[in-house]
C-alpha cells in the first residue's frame, strides 16, 4: 500500500476576483522510502502541491491520504498534530528562528512533545551531527553560512523522525557546490529509509531522486 496517495486533487484560488486553478486534478502515489522530485516551471503548481501534501492547504476537491490517514478529514488541531508527528519540512529560505541557536532551532519541533530536556538536546545534537554540524550547536543562524543554515533546517526537519520529509526548493538559495552537498545529504537520508518529496526547478537535482514528477499548469505531465 502506498504511503502517500493523492486522488484527483484540485485547488482553486481567487485572486483579484479571478479564479486561478493551481491544481487541476492531480493523481500521485508515493511508496514508503521513495525519494520523489516534483519539478515544473514557476506557476506550475508544485509549491501548492507540496503545501497540500503538508496538510497546510485544504484542496478544493480530491483526497490526500498519508500513512493511512485521510489528511483533510482530520478534525480541528489533529492536522497540526499529524504534521508534528509524521512530517518534516525544509523551507526554501531555511526559515530558521533568528534568536535561537542551531541546537535550539533543531529542538523546536520537540518543544511541543512531552520529553525531558536532556533527551530533546540529545536528539537535536544527534540530528545536527547527522548533517555534519556537530561542532556548531550554539551558533546563531547569522553566524552560519547558507549551506550550514540549510543543514540546520534539514536537522530540524528530521529531529522527530518523521515518516515523510517535504522540501521546498531546498537548494534555491545555495551555490552549486553547496547545493550538491545538500542534495547528497538528502540522498543519504533516503538511503537510510527516509521518504522524501522535494519540489525543485533545478533539473540537476533530479538525478539524486528515485523518480521525478513534472507538473505543468496544475496537472502532472510526466512521472
Amino acid at each position: 500500500m502506498a504511503l502517500i496517495t493523492i486522488k484527483n486533487v484540485k485547488k482553486q484560488y481567487t485572486s483579484d476576483g479571478d479564479v486561478v486553478e493551481a491544481l487541476r486534478g492531480v493523481d500521485i502515489s508515493i511508496e514508503a522510502g521513495e525519494f520523489i522530485t516534483i519539478m515544473g516551471q514557476s506557476g506550475s503548481g508544485k509549491s501548492t502541491l507540496l503545501s497540500v501534501l503538508g496538510g497546510m492547504n485544504h484542496p478544493t476537491s480530491g483526497e490526500v491520504e498519508m500513512a493511512g490517514v485521510k489528511l483533510y478529514h482530520l478534525p480541528g488541531e489533529k492536522l497540526a498534530d499529524f504534521r508534528a508527528q509524521k512530517l518534516g519540512f525544509v523551507f526554501q529560505s531555511f526559515n530558521l528562528i533568528s534568536y535561537l541557536t542551531a541546537i535550539e532551532n533543531v529542538m523546536l519541533p520537540l518543544a511541543i512533545v512531552s520529553m525531558n530536556t536532556p533527551d530533546k538536546k540529545a536528539a537535536a545534537r544527534q540530528a545536527l551531527e547527522r548533517v555534519g554540524l556537530g561542532g556548531k550547536l550554539d551558533r546563531l543562524p547569522n553566524q552560519l553560512s547558507g549551506g550550514e543554515q540549510e543543514r540546520v533546517a534539514i536537522a530540524r526537519a528530521i529531529v522527530n523522525n518523521p515518516e515523510i520529509l517535504l522540501a521546498d526548493e531546498p537548494t534555491g538559495n545555495l551555490d552549486s557546490k553547496t547545493s550538491e552537498d545538500v542534495m547528497a545529504l538528502f540522498r543519504e537520508l533516503n538511503d537510510g529509509g527516509q521518504t522524501i518529496v522535494m519540489v525543485t526547478h533545478n533539473r540537476e537535482n533530479g538525478v539524486y531522486s528515485d523518480r521525478t514528477i513534472t507538473l505543468k499548469d496544475g496537472v502532472v505531465v510526466a512521472h
Binding site: 488541531e77 499529524f82 504534521r83 519540512f89 523551507f91 526559515n95 528562528i97 523546536l108 530533546k120
Partner: protein, 386 residues
C-alpha cells in the same frame, strides 16, 4: 526546549521593543500606585490628625427656654428647668456602641470669677484631654501640670497684666501662670484655664460640669449615630454634632480620590493601547516565524501561549517596576500634598499585589487579540510572506 524558551529568547532579542512596552505599562501602573497610595496616605493622615480639627460633638446641660415678647417688643428670654451634668455621667460615653471612635472627651466647668479686681471667665478642664483636642494651641511658657497651674488666654494675660511664671491669687489661693496661649482669635483668648477639680472647688460646683466636648472623628465615623447613642446614655444632656470642618476636608479628599481613579482609568487605557499596538506589531513582524511554528505542528493554542507568555512576562516586570516607581513618586509627592508635615506613606500589600495583578491582567487582555490573530495565521500565507 519548551514553549517558554521561545518566549524568553524572543524577549531577549527584541530588547528595545520590549523595553518600550515595559515602560509604557510601567508608567500606567506607577501612576495608579502613586495616586492610590497618595489618597490612602492622605486619608490616613487626616484620620490620624482628626483630633487637631477639634471636637465635633458638644454635650451641654438640657434646659427649656422661654422667649418673652409682647406686641412685637422683645423682652429677652429666660431659661428654666436647667439640668446639670455630673462628671460621672460622662463615663457612660465609653459604653456606647461606637465607643471605639471616641478619641477624646474634654469636660469643662465654667464660671465667672474675680481676679485682681477683674471679672474673668474661669474654665476648668482636664489639661491632658484639652491639649490633645486643641493641638493648634501654641503655649508661651509651660503646659500646666499641677492643680495650682493656670493657663491664660492672650487677652486675659493682657488684662491681668501677667505672663508665664507669674503668680495670681484667686479666692485667697495662690496659683502659678504656667503658660499663656498665643492669640487664637477665638473665645479662648479671654479665658483663664485651670485644673477641672480646682475650678469646680473655686466655683462651688464640685462634681458638676458645664459642658463637654467630644472628639470622635474619622472618615468612617457615624457621627449622627454617635450623637443619638450619647443622648440615650445621658438624658439630662443636650448632644449636638459639629461636622462642617471635617466634612469639608473629607469632601475635598473624596473629590481628589474620584479624580485619581478617573486619571488612573485613562492612564491604564493608554497603557493597554500601547501593549496592544506593540504586541500587534510584534505579531505582524513575526508572520513567517509563526508560519514555521504552525508548519512544524504547533497548535493554535501553542502560538497563543507563546504570545501571551511574552505579554505576561513583560507585564509582570512592568508591574514590579511600576509599583516601585509609583511608591517612590508617592513618597516624593506626599509631603507637598498631605495635611501634616509628618504624614506617613502607607505600604499596603494589597496595592503591591493589586498593581502587579493589574499589570498582568492589562498586559494579557491587551495581548489577547494579537495572540488570537497570530494563532489564526494560515501557515501557507505566513510562509508566503517571505
Amino acid at each position: 526546549m519548551k514553549l517558554h524558551t521561545i518566549s524568553i529568547n524572543n524577549l531577549k532579542r527584541r530588547k528595545a521593543k520590549m523595553a518600550f512596552l515595559t515602560i509604557g505599562l510601567m508608567v500606567g501602573i506607577a501612576t495608579i500606585v502613586t495616586l492610590v497610595t497618595l489618597t490612602s496616605s492622605m486619608s490616613s493622615d487626616i484620620e490620624r490628625k482628626m483630633d487637631e480639627f477639634g471636637a465635633n460633638i458638644l454635650i451641654t446641660p438640657q434646659s427649656n427656654g422661654l422667649a418673652m415678647s409682647y406686641g412685637g417688643i422683645s423682652l429677652g428670654g429666660v431659661s428654666f428647668d436647667q439640668r446639670e451634668i455630673r462628671e460621672e455621667d460622662l463615663a457612660r460615653i465609653t459604653t456606647i456602641a461606637n465607643h471605639k471612635n471616641v478619641s477624646a472627651v474634654s469636660p469643662k466647668v465654667l464660671g465667672g470669677i474675680k481676679i485682681n479686681n477683674h471679672d474673668v471667665l474661669l474654665v476648668g478642664v482636664h489639661f491632658a484631654s484639652e491639649l490633645k483636642m486643641k493641638q493648634w494651641w501654641k503655649i508661651f511658657g509651660n503646659e500646666p501640670k499641677s492643680e495650682h497651674d493656670l493657663l491664660l488666654g492672650s487677652e486675659a494675660s493682657r488684662v491681668l497684666n501677667v505672663s508665664s511664671g507669674d503668680r495670681l491669687t484667686i479666692k485667697g489661693e495662690s496659683f502659678t501662670v504656667a503658660g499663656v496661649l498665643d492669640q487664637t482669635g477665638s473665645q479662648d483668648d479671654a479665658l483663664v484655664f485651670a485644673n477641672l477639680a480646682t475650678a469646680q472647688k473655686l466655683l462651688g460646683k464640685q462634681g458638676k460640669i458645664s459642658m463637654a466636648e467630644v472628639a470622635a472623628l474619622c472618615s468612617g465615623c457615624p457621627i449622627g449615630d454617635m450623637v443619638t447613642q450619647i443622648a440615650e446614655k445621658i438624658p439630662d444632656a443636650k448632644v449636638s454634632a459639629i461636622q462642617q470642618v471635617v466634612e469639608g476636608r473629607l469632601k475635598s479628599l473624596n473629590q481628589f480620590k474620584r479624580f485619581s481613579y478617573a486619571m488612573a482609568g485613562v492612564v491604564i487605557f493608554i497603557g493597554s493601547l500601547i501593549v496592544f499596538v506593540t504586541m500587534m506589531g510584534s505579531v505582524n513582524e513575526r508572520t513567517t516565524e509563526i508560519g514555521v511554528f504552525r508548519a512544524i505542528g504547533f497548535r493554535k493554542s501553542h502560538i497563543m501561549r507563546i504570545i501571551l507568555l511574552e505579554a505576561a512576562l513583560v507585564s509582570l516586570l512592568a508591574g514590579f517596576l511600576g509599583y516601585a516607581v509609583g511608591m517612590g513618586s508617592a513618597k516624593l509627592a506626599l509631603p507637598f500634598m498631605a495635611e501634616s508635615k509628618n504624614a506617613h506613606l502607607i505600604w499596603d500589600t494589597s496595592v503591591a499585589c493589586g498593581s502587579i495583578g493589574l499589570a498582568v491582567a492589562v498586559g494579557l487582555l491587551a495581548s489577547l487579540y494579537p495572540a488570537l490573530h497570530a494563532s489564526k495565521l494560515d501557515p501557507t500565507e505566513a510562509l508566503r510572506a517571505l
